[in-house]
């Protein structure tokens, strides 16, 4: 046994796969300890906030420590962030349509451009030949530029507690800075939020846990059913074999996924929890395990030690468990790993079709993809809502398959080096 394990852990493939899956398991266990709360809580009001650090404006104003930094490039940065190259093009298009000669509109010189703009732009003017979209874009740029050069301090007021009149609370000048560590509320959203305003990273890790559970449950069911049927069919033979193989063949010709869709649909969403989905997946994917276990058993059933056991009057179950199972155990473990992997993929596929677990209770990888698709994250450039999910599914399935290859190299006599 020890030697076997040593052999297994010498296989680079297995070790890489094992490390990845262990890492994933560690992260999904540890992360919730640092970031507790429900992964389904809708924290963001609005869809698909982009990844980044969110600093509370209210708290940043309230901080008692204000630092003054005189930075040369501050004003340029401020203007650069507001006046993008595309905005300059929009301004030029409007000014030319407005009737200014093309050579007089230079967009490289910010000061000249802004002066020209503020002298000419009037939101009520509808320049000839300009589309409404272009006019609206110009109006948006104009709104953005308002007060760009105004470097006066901002005044924050708050209603007075007794009179209710706005009273000056503080002023903020353009050279005031705060240190992020002084601010009470800073939230890092490494993967932004999804369409419901949920923390995507937190949801992703919770979903990975659920999907792994679904995969494990589905894989175990499929393997157990497949193993039991394969053992009986292969060892007992005769009519038992015929009946089992009849059903196995029947299920082979019906595409498994179609069957899965039909069963999931007929169960109805109300009773479709994560466990139910896992069970359904498990019971629709036992076929190939049965067939291959049966084939293995057929080659084992006439071995001497099996015959000896039979002559000694051992029971059927005992023979199966003690004389046959150990010889195919390694194979069964490998089949289990593949079944877990396909269970996770099946859940994702089902959920994408809206036939996965009901949505209110737990996040799953498939449901995250489903809602991302529904809210067209892929068309809006909100990659964080679906790409990490794809990567996670790929990583899980990659690591499980790598482990499987590693095991294969140890146990498969043809590959053994």
């Amino acid at each position: 046994m020890k030697t076997t394990f040593r052999q297994i852990f010498r296989q680079a493939n297995f070790v890489i796969g094992f490390s990845i899956i262990t890492l994933i398991l560690l992260v999904i266990t540890i992360y919730p300890l640092f970031n507790p709360g429900s992964p389904l809580q809708m924290i963001g009001q609005g869809t698909f906030f982009k990844p980044g650090t969110y600093v509370n404006i209210y708290d940043s104003l309230d901080t008692s420590k204000v630092y003054t930094l005189r930075l040369d490039d501050a004003a340029a940065n401020r203007i650069g962030k507001k006046l993008l190259p595309a905005d300059r093009e929009t301004m030029r298009a409007w000014l030319i349509a407005f009737g200014l000669p093309e050579e007089s509109v230079q967009i490289e010189y910010t000061d000249d451009l802004l002066q020209l703009w503020w002298n000419s732009y009037d939101e009520n003017v509808r320049p000839q030949g300009m589309t409404s979209a272009a006019r609206k874009a110009a109006a948006r740029v104009d709104a953005k530029l308002a007060g760009l050069y105004n470097m006066e301090s901002l005044t924050i007021t708050q209603p007075d507690e007794t009179t209710g009149e706005p009273a000056q609370k503080m002023t903020v000048s353009e050279t005031d800075y705060v240190n992020v560590s002084d601010i009470a509320n800073v939230r890092v959203l490494p993967l932004g939020t999804d369409n419901f305003g949920r923390d995507t990273l937190k949801e992703l890790l919770a979903a990975t846990a659920t999907s792994l559970k679904i995969g494990l449950l589905a894989g175990c069911i499929a393997t157990l059913v497949g193993l039991a049927l394969g053992l009986f069919a292969g060892y007992v033979g005769g009519i038992v074999d015929d009946i089992i193989m009849f059903f196995a063949n029947l299920f082979t010709v019906i595409p498994g996924f179609v069957l899965l869709i039909l069963i999931s649909y007929s169960i109805g969403q109300e009773s479709r929890g994560a466990t139910t989905v896992a069970v359904v997946i498990g019971f629709t994917s036992w076929v190939w395990t049965t067939r291959s276990v049966r084939a293995q058993v057929l080659s084992l059933r006439n071995r001497d030690h099996v015959n000896l056991s039979k002559l000694s009057g051992h029971s059927l179950i005992r023979i199966l468990v003690t004389d046959i199972l150990p010889y195919i155990a390694s194979y069964v473990v490998m089949a289990l790993i593949l079944q877990i992997c396909s269970g996770i993929l099946s859940e994702a596929q089902l959920s994408m079709l809206g036939l996965g677990p009901k949505t209110t209770e737990v996040p799953t990888l498939g449901l995250m993809m489903f809602w991302g698709m529904q809210y067209t994250a892929h068309l809006n450039g909100a990659w964080w809502a679906y790409f990490p999910v794809i990567v996670m599914i790929a990583l899980i399935s990659f690591s499980l398959n790598l482990m499987n290859t590693g095991l294969d190299q140890v146990f498969n006599p043809q590959l053994r080096s």
Binding site: G44, S132, N195, E270, T359, Q374, T376, L379, G381
Partner: protein, 604 residues
Amino acid sequence: MKRKFSSAVLAALMALCLVLGTASFAVAESAAIPSELPRNETLYFAGQQWGSVVGWSIFMDSANNAMAIAEAASRRIPVNETLYMYNLLDGKVIPLLADGDYQWNDDQTEITVKINPAAHFSDGTPVKATDVAYTYDTHIKYQTANGVNFPEYIAEVSALDEYTVVFKAALNDSGAAKNPLEVVNQLLQIYIWPQSYIEKLEERNNYDAAAFKLDTAEDFIASGPYAGGFYADDQKVILARDDNYWGVAIFGSLPAPKYLAHNIYPDNPAGQVALAAGEVDVCQQFIADVQLLWEEQDLPISTYIDEPPYGICVSTPSAFYNFNNPILANNVAIRKAIALAVDYDQINANAMTYQSPTFVQSPRSLMIPTDGEQAMYDHEAVKDLQWIGNDIEGANKLLDEAGIVDTNGDGIRDIDGKNLSFNAVCPNGWTDWMASMEIVAAAGKGIGIEITTLFPEWSEVQNVFTDGTQTSYDIFMYAGDGAGPTYPWQRVRQRMSSEFIGRTGNWSGNWGQYSNPRADEIIQLIPSVTDPDELKALYTEAVEIYLTDVPSFALMYRPQLFYTVNESVWTGYPEQGDGYNIPPTDLTDGYGIAGLYHLELVNP
């Protein structure tokens, strides 16, 4: 030799089958339409036609022909025309086939309508009063989906002379019109076809109602600007302009595009991709975060209004409580508490991506956020009854005061030892509605009421919630309203009228089976009241009852039609503040069609 012959026969048969098989793809075509449409003469649509067109007859029960025949408060009129068209921006009724305004007689029992003498059908024959009367009669004679309800409102439609039609209202016992509002509504709802063509249609179907209603009428004759020919298969629908269109007399010119085309897309994302690529000009689809199309992707795309809510919201998708559930029926505190606790800002932000006015901007009532309807009730009088939402504290207080508390300590409130547990239902795939129901369910958590969402398929939902005896859905979502000349009365009726209680196949209203005698009285009274002050008082009282009893509550305001346009090829689309007062009804519905006459090419 014999074998050779039989194989030749076999081959011929197979070829024949192939030809027949190809031909059986529903291709219908009326006039020569070029195989490749010139881009700068064609206006492309998305989001109206889903699936293949079934037929072109205005008498069909389900023609699935969104470009030509569409049920809506503002009728779709590029092909078939109505007597009047509706402008949902100001609620005005504008003559189309009619000449001037309709006239009520002094007793308000008859409406007289003059037909525009310039109006003619695509074959050149003038539109006459007899055509109008015959079209209405046909609807009644063959009991079409429209016709079954006519006798409720209209007793008779007759031609007084060549160009004058008289609509006699159905009268109640006291000799007054049963429902004057609905009589007017029919003037905007019924497409007019020539009597001669209808007679031909009847004759070829041997006057058999079932066959008549199934006739696809591909040789139809209509009066609209795009009745000049069509092409339809499972990929697209094309309408060709009638260059002899009579409407030049009222609009001053022909509509700009020579063709209206609608590619049939499998789903919303496909239509959205086509819009972004400039293959679609006018898109009637909910696009999540629509502003990203111009803000982030810099596309020449815009909506009617440049900032949230981007469109005119005339519909109020609501959560209905099922009064067949005694706990919901007997406890107004529960109904109100759930409504108070729901976070409507979250619905607006996450489900509708800000494409709805908030309930702060337009406080809840039975009216939509248009100036016309908002002026119809007294805002001050109902101020204390309106709520903003996300008021967990208020909701908890309400339930505590009503004595509905958690007696067994499991975190869920109970009545008679039974935990409060409800389902919240809307159809699967209706994205923004599903997200709304999730947010309603989340509200339940904060106030100790268990709410679980349930998203069955639409085919199932439509059978359950329209059944007045159903007990399977506790809280369910439906809109079913819009803007039209019968609104907001129609909406008051839809939300509260007990006439619909217990009906099966009920599409008309009060799906929650709520009953209030005073509300019924108000619904009876409003249609015949003409005094504005009296009307306002009645509407205010209706709003008071609605907000006190909470038989249902609005979750959001929503446009009846979404309207997003791409200016890659055409420009001059209706937009807010352009001075034309054309509603954003996709250039096809009601007075929105006037937008077609202002379109210009970006690169002529």
